[in-house]
Symmetry: C2
DNA sequence: ATAATTATTTAACAAATGTTAAACTATTAT
DNA sequence: ATAATAGTTTAACATTTGTTAAATAATTAT
């Protein structure tokens, strides 16, 4: 295993829980690096999600079909975790699809291996809890923004927080993420130009 | 400690992780029952959230101020967990306020006690992780509904899922929860009457 | 290099939701 | 019982976003 490739993920992990060498090695033994080309699918509809990914490079999107249309619910920022969680936790077929918006390098771990890691090292379970807590808080922040902010404010904040994302991700997906139609986003962008 | 009062919470807990007698007793020793009257505050703005609550009776709401106005982001259904999570996890002053919509009976545990429970019994930490996973999934579902559904659909679904809530909770809070203004909700309700 | 495909913009009109202000109804306190 | 307060509805008009359809721009495949 090339250790350099794990630099980002280890840096990320250490923000939450302080691991000993052996605990990190136990994790390293179980991870698998996956490279996806643009539009490749990480988790298919109907699959049971059995891997969780850390996006070391590139952007993933989480989407599902609604009235025959693709709706992008999430665009994962760089260096974050992604899986189809409802499927992953309950081991039921996934209605969510995860695919690569750009070429991606994913650091992944299998669910069973993760469970065993949790069993063997309570600190890993603590890490799992902390991560999901962060994800929940971020998710609540997004609900807050749907309730109180206009689409324009949501767009401006996204632009500020993830300027690269706007550059690398088709606006269709950004529009879905913001909860508006592509044409409305386009109109909104124009009104900001002046 | 009156064991009957814990019936609901234990039933709820057992859905997620199967606990042994001693593990449940360890928990029971640490909980505190809190009774709130309507409009009493469970977590104040600026407080560091140090308790998490299970709503054994009644409804809580989570709100914050935006441009001097109260915005209700969450109404906690019966038999669910609530705390000001951003404050609780990072021990920083809370911008979120939690108060009682109706008279409430809360089964609560102090954060330090909870941490010690996690330390002593990895199964409790597992429970903590599972619960927050569920909460995250529910939160994602709500984002999905903001993206794809109209306010009318969101209202109808809420009505179906929590008919009691509509009866017991002022429409102002419901409207916030749905992401629309009280007057819009009122108009919408009228249009459904026919 | 060119054609085909994908992404983005534009515009006119429709629908949904917000804003302001007032009236009405129900609940709570004295 | 009555006054005060809190909750809900109504309505007219404003603003935002959606819808449909087409044009333009950028990217990708041959």
């Amino acid at each position: 295993m090339n250790l350099e490739i794990l630099e980002n993920v280890i840096k990320f992990i250490n923000q939450f829980v302080d691991f000993k060498e052996e605990e990190l090695i136990a994790m390293q033994k179980k991870i698998e690096i996956i490279h996806l080309k643009k539009n490749d699918i990480f988790i298919k509809e109907g699959d049971i999600a059995d891997r969780i990914a850390f996006t070391n490079k590139g952007y993933l999107r989480v989407y599902y079909y609604y009235n025959g249309e693709e709706i992008t619910r999430d665009i994962t920022p760089l260096h974050s975790f992604a899986t189809a969680l409802p499927s992953f936790v309950s081991q039921t077929p996934s209605f969510e699809i995860i695919s690569a918006i750009t070429d991606c390098e994913l650091i992944t771990i299998n669910r069973d291996d993760l469970e065993r890691l949790y069993e063997s090292f309570p600190k890993w379970e603590r890490f799992g809890r902390r991560i999901i807590e962060e994800m929940f808080v971020e998710s609540q922040r997004r609900i807050y923004s749907f309730i109180t902010e206009t689409a324009e404010t949501r767009y401006k904040k996204l632009l500020k927080q993830y300027p690269d994302m706007i550059r690398d991700v088709p606006l269709k997906y950004i529009a879905d993420f913001l909860g508006i139609k592509l044409q409305s986003l386009s109109r909104l962008r124009k009104s900001l130009d002046w």
